[in-house]
C-alpha cells in the first residue's frame, strides 16, 4: 500500500527549532486550542439561566415561616455558555479515552460505551429505589444476576451488593468479621495488614475498633509466612491481604496463610482491588478467603468519573454469610424480592445492619453486568491473561534500565513495580512522573507501595495494544536515561501541560476552598 503521507512526517518527529519558540503573548491568554476558562463565578449571574421554567407566582406558601429571602449566590449560565464552560474544562483533563493511564492498583481500563447506553435504559435509570417490588422485577434480576456472576467468578457462596465503593466494601467485610467473632463471644483486638497495603486497609480496621499491626514482608516482596504464623494467636481477629499484592506479585502461600489464620480462630480478608489480574484464572474462594470486596470500577470497568462513583460488592464465605448487611435480593421461582429489615427472618437474623440507604450502586451494576456478559467466561479469562502479559512485557522491557526490586521474584501479575535507584542525585520519581506528562502520558502510581524507595507502579491493563506499549516503553526508556544522566530540566516538568507544577504548600497553608466575592 502507498503511504498517504508523502512527506514522511510522523508525530514523534520533533518540530524544527524555529517551530519551538514561544510565539507572542495573546490577548486572551488562550493558545489556539488550549483555551483558558474562568470560574463559573466570574462569568455567571444569578439572573441568568439555562432552563425554561414558569415565573414563580408569589403568594401564600406552606413553608411554616421559613422562606429563603436572602440571596443564595448561585450564578447561572445559558445552555450554550454552559456547554462551552464544561467542554473547555474537560479539555484540561487527561483520560483513558486519550491514552495509556498506567496508574498501578487503580486499573484504568477502557470503559465500553455500551455500558453507558444500557445504564440509561429507562427501566434502570428511571426507577425509584422504593418502588413497589412488582414494578422493579427486572432491576432486582440484574442485581441478582450480577451477584451470581460475582459468586461464580470468586467461588464464594454469598455476596453483599450494597457497599458503595472499595473502601466501603472493606468496611463491610471487616464489620461482618467482627460481628461473627462477637456472635461467638470472642473479643479479638488485632488486625494484621502488610506494610505494602493500601491505606484504606488500616484505616478500615481502625474504624472497626481494631488495633492494626504490620505483617513483615520477605525480600522478594511477599508476606513473610513464618513471621505471620508466629504472630497469630487468640487476639488476632483477621488478616487483610491484597492478592495479587501491591508489589504486583501473587501471594503464592495464600492458602497456607489462610489455613493458619483459620486454625488460630481468625478470619481472612482479601482486598480484591487487584482481582482483575486473576479473574477467570483463579477463584479466591479456593484459596481460603472469608471476605473480599470487588471494585466494579476496576475489574469490571465502570467509569472512574474523576474520582467516583465506585461500587464495592463483597463476597463472603459460609462462615460469614449470615452476618452480611441488608438488603439482600433473593430469587424464588422466577420472582425476585428484597429482604430488608422487615423480613430479615431466620436466614438473616445475624445481619450486622445496613451500610447505606437503599440498595447500592444500581447504575454501576448495570454497567458491570454488561461488561461481564460482553466478555463471558472466556473473555474474562483473556482479560486477566492480557493484563498480566502486558505488565510483564513492560517489566522485561525496562528492567535493564530501571531498578525492578522484585524483578527476580518471578513473573509479575497485572502491574510492574520499579524503584528510583540509579537516578542522579537530586532527581526523583516525581520528576520522572511529571516529565511523563510532557510525553502525553498520565504518570504511574508513585511512592506506593511504601516498601520500595521512590516506587513507580505501572499497570497497563489489557486495554493497550502492543504498538501502544512499545511507544510507552520507548518514552519511559528515554525518561529513565535522562533521570540517570541528571537532566535537571526534568525538575521543571511538565512544560506542555495546561498548568506547570502547582504550589501545594500554598494551597494547604492558606486554604481557599470556596469562591468568595472579595477575591475579585
Amino acid at each position: 500500500m502507498n503511504a498517504p503521507n508523502k512527506s514522511g512526517w510522523k508525530p514523534e518527529m520533533n518540530a524544527s527549532e524555529d517551530g519551538m519558540h514561544q510565539g507572542p503573548a495573546t490577548v486572551t491568554g488562550n493558545r489556539a486550542l488550549m483555551l483558558e476558562e474562568p470560574l463559573l463565578f466570574e462569568i455567571g449571574h444569578a439572573n441568568e439561566t439555562g432552563v425554561d421554567l414558569p415565573e414563580p407566582q408569589f403568594g401564600a406558601n406552606r413553608f411554616g415561616g421559613f422562606e429563603r429571602n436572602a440571596a443564595i449566590g448561585l450564578p447561572g449560565l445559558s445552555e450554550p455558555e454552559t456547554m462551552r464552560h464544561y467542554t473547555r474544562l474537560s479539555r484540561q483533563n487527561y483520560a483513558i479515552d486519550l491514552g495509556l493511564f498506567p496508574l498501578g492498583s487503580c486499573t484504568m481500563k477502557h470503559n465500553p460505551r455500551l455500558n453507558e447506553k444500557v445504564a440509561r435504559m429507562p427501566g434502570f435509570a428511571d426507577v425509584h429505589p422504593l418502588a413497589p417490588i412488582s414494578t422493579v422485577q427486572g432491576a432486582l434480576q440484574v442485581i441478582h444476576e450480577l451477584g451470581e456472576w460475582l459468586k461464580a467468578l470468586t467461588g464464594m457462596p454469598a455476596v453483599a451488593m450494597s457497599p458503595k465503593a472499595g473502601a466501603h466494601g472493606e468496611l463491610c467485610g471487616i464489620l461482618a468479621i467482627r460481628a461473627a467473632l462477637e456472635a461467638r463471644g470472642d473479643a479479638r483486638e488485632v488486625v494484621l495488614c502488610p506494610e505494602s497495603a493500601h491505606g484504606t486497609n488500616p484505616a478500615t480496621a481502625a474504624f472497626a475498633g481494631y488495633r492494626v499491626e504490620d505483617i513483615p514482608a520477605t525480600a522478594e516482596g511477599r508476606v513473610d509466612v513464618a513471621a505471620l504464623k508466629a504472630r497469630l494467636g487468640p487476639d488476632v481477629a483477621a488478616v487483610m491481604i491484597t492478592n495479587p499484592n501491591t508489589c504486583g506479585l501473587f501471594e503464592r502461600d495464600f492458602k497456607v496463610i489462610a489455613d493458619a489464620v483459620h486454625a488460630a480462630g481468625g478470619f481472612v480478608y482479601c482486598d480484591g482491588a487487584n482481582f482483575n489480574a486473576i479473574v477467570g484464572k483463579v477463584r479466591p474462594g479456593d484459596l481460603g478467603v472469608d471476605a473480599m470486596h470487588i471494585n466494579l470500577h476496576k475489574t469490571f470497568s465502570t467509569p472512574h468519573g474523576g474520582g467516583g462513583p465506585g461500587s464495592g460488592p463483597v463476597v463472603f464465605s459460609e462462615a460469614l454469610a449470615p452476618f452480611a448487611p441488608l438488603p439482600v435480593v433473593v430469587e424464588d421461582r422466577g420472582q425476585y424480592r428484597m429482604i430488608e429489615e422487615e423480613d430479615a427472618g431466620e436466614n438473616h437474623s445475624s445481619t450486622f445492619g445496613r451500610m447505606t440507604a437503599f440498595h447500592g450502586q444500581m447504575g454501576m451494576f448495570t454497567r458491570a453486568l454488561t461488561y461481564i456478559l460482553s466478555h463471558g467466561a472466556d473473555g474474562l479469562k483473556q482479560v486477566a491473561e492480557d493484563a498480566v502479559l502486558n505488565a510483564n512485557y513492560i517489566l522485561r522491557s525496562l528492567d535493564d534500565l530501571l531498578d525492578a526490586p522484585f524483578g527476580a521474584s518471578g513473573p509479575c501479575m497485572h502491574e510492574a513495580l520499579f524503584g528510583d535507584r540509579g537516578f542522579a542525585e537530586g532527581l526523583s520519581t516525581l520528576d520522572l512522573a511529571k516529565a511523563m506528562i510532557d510525553e502525553g502520558y498520565h504518570p504511574m502510581t508513585m511512592y506506593f507501595p511504601l516498601v520500595v524507595h521512590g516506587a513507580m507502579l505501572i499497570e497497563p491493563t489489557e486495554t493497550e495494544s502492543k504498538a501502544g506499549l512499545d511507544q510507552f516503553i520507548a518514552a519511559l526508556r528515554g525518561l529513565a536515561e535522562r533521570a540517570k544522566a541528571g537532566d535537571e530540566s526534568m525538575k521543571q516538568a511538565p512544560f506542555y501541560a495546561p498548568r506547570r507544577r502547582l504550589d501545594e504548600t500554598l494551597a494547604a497553608r492558606k486554604p481557599v476552598l470556596a469562591w468568595a466575592e472579595d477575591e475579585e
Binding site: E504, T505, A508, R509
Partner: protein
C-alpha cells in the same frame, strides 16, 4: 537554661518546673514545608511518649510525642496563623507547647546538644 533533645527530634527547654517543646532544625528539614500544626489543648495531662501534637507537610503527617510527663500550660498560637515558623525558626519562635515537668528524673534519659548532634549526624 538547659536544653535537652529526644531521639524523636524534639527539643525541650527546662526553666524551673516548666518545659518548652519544639522540633529540631534537622526534623523540619526532613519534613519539608510545614503547612499545619495541631497543638494540644491547655490543661491536657500528658504521659511521656503520648501523642502530643501533629505536624503536617503537604504529603505527610507526623506525631510529636510528649518528651516527658506533665500538664500542658500553653500552646504556640502563632503557629496557627503561620505554620511556616516551624521551618524558618524551629528552635525558637517555632516552639510548639509549654508543659509542667512532673518528674524531673525523666529528663535524665534525654540527650544534650552534643549527643543529639552526633545522633543526627549518624542518620
Amino acid at each position: 537554661m538547659p536544653r535537652y533533645f529526644t531521639d524523636e527530634h524534639e527539643w525541650v527547654d527546662v526553666e524551673g518546673s516548666t518545659a518548652t517543646v519544639g522540633i529540631t532544625d534537622y526534623a523540619q528539614g526532613q519534613l519539608g514545608d510545614i503547612v499545619f500544626v495541631e497543638l494540644p489543648s491547655v490543661g491536657k495531662q500528658l504521659e511521656k511518649g503520648d501523642d502530643a501534637a501533629v505536624v503536617e507537610s503537604v504529603k505527610a503527617a507526623s506525631d510529636v510525642y510528649a518528651p516527658i510527663s506533665g500538664k500542658v500550660l500553653e500552646s504556640n498560637e502563632d503557629l496557627e496563623e503561620d505554620p511556616a515558623l516551624v521551618n524558618t525558626d524551629p528552635e525558637d519562635g517555632g516552639w510548639f507547647f509549654r508543659m509542667t515537668v512532673s518528674d524531673e528524673s525523666e529528663l535524665e534519659g534525654l540527650m544534650d546538644e552534643a549527643a543529639y548532634k552526633a545522633f543526627a549526624d549518624s542518620l
